[in-house]
């Protein structure tokens, strides 16, 4: 079991939970490794009465921050918390902007585009021996290809295959105009940060998969016969490729306009 499984399982349980189903866990037959893994991210306690599922500022154990139900009003504190945690404990000298940017873009997409009743779930974990930081974020919304096809229909255009739609979604400037300011730069920014750090990315949405493998900037895609109702983005970042923290020295004004 890994972060990928944990966040998609969390979305499923949350869907039942908000539908009024009482959540109880039985541990019979669960391996000690899986139980321990889920305990560390506070998975079993997440649906207990009185728990704020959007809260993340709990005690930190090992190399994992608790699983978090994405709350778009807490994007800033969550990203700062993650950055400060890893900066303070493991990645002391690295500039963690790539992590902050990809999380912000994916959370903003959930808010602006997903229409996900469960919001989404996020899990971050770090393996220092592999210098690998994993970010897994899942929602049970309409899914990127469906969103793009709905937009195309509204513009009087033909719908396209899901894998083509998913490829379009990462093209700079491609926007479904879910918000008036939207310019279609979010997933392009995710992709450019993945490429710049030689990291890997996988996006699963509806009937399509988009992949960028570690150390290979080619964007691959494939079709799934069984659809996934939502969008799941999983990124493995090679932290050795992060830039060193840059100190701003002097105060020279620059003009970009």
């Amino acid at each position: 079991m890994n972060a990928w499984h944990a966040v998609s399982l969390a979305c499923l349980i949350e869907e039942y939970f908000i539908g009024g189903v009482k959540i109880e866990f039985q541990y019979t037959g669960v391996s000690e490794a899986i139980r321990s893994y889920l305990e560390k991210m506070s998975f079993f306690k997440h649906w207990e009465a009185g728990i704020d599922r959007n809260d993340f500022s709990k005690s930190l154990r090992e190399r994992m921050i608790h699983i978090w139900k994405v709350d778009c009003s807490r994007i800033q504190p969550y990203i700062d918390y993650v950055r400060e945690y890893y900066q303070g404990n493991f990645l002391v000298e690295q500039d963690l902007s790539p992590i902050s940017i990809v999380m912000a873009e994916i959370f903003n997409n959930i808010q602006d585009h997903s229409e996900s009743e469960v919001s989404g779930y996020c899990l971050i974990q770090y393996a220092p021996n592999k210098h690998e930081l994993q970010i897994s974020i899942c929602d049970f919304g309409v899914g990127i290809p469906h969103k793009i096809n709905a937009y195309r229909k509204s513009m009087g255009e033909k719908t396209i295959r899901h894998e083509k739609a998913l490829m379009e979604s990462v093209v700079k400037g491609y926007s479904t105009k879910s918000t008036p300011q939207n310019r279609g730069l979010g997933l392009d920014l995710v992709l450019s940060n993945v490429k710049a750090t030689n990291s890997s990315l996988i996006i699963v949405a509806n009937k399509a998969i988009l992949k960028v493998e570690m150390g290979n900037n080619e964007i691959l895609h494939e079709r799934m016969e069984k659809p996934f109702s939502g969008t799941h983005i999983h990124i493995k970042m090679d932290t050795t490729n992060f830039e060193k923290i840059e100190k701003v020295v002097g105060e020279e004004e620059e003009f970009f306009l």
């Binding site: 902050s100 912000a104 903003n108 300011q181 310019r183 730069l185 701003v248 970009f256 306009l257």
Partner: protein, 106 residues
Amino acid sequence: MQVMTTENRKRIKLLSIVKGTYTNSEGSALFKELDKYLRQGQSVTIDFTDCHALSSSFLNSSIGEIFMKYGYNSLKGRIGVVNATKSQKKQIEDYITYLKEEAVGS
């Protein structure tokens, strides 16, 4: 809020008007500040001290909206940036290049 004046140029310390630089609402708050001074004919210096990363939503709702309202020619030399990291400067520069291309293409 910390706004310092040097003649006709106002200085806005970004983290004194927003908590962060990730969301549309934070971008809109910067847009309002920029607009307040620009429409009076003043210029603005944005101080990025202690800011970390910029999202596209933040840039769209701040710089992007200002660009749409005033246009490139009337903004030339009127919005400056200080205390930004190299990666933030690169991101702003790329973003403005994209806005200019978009404006030419539209």
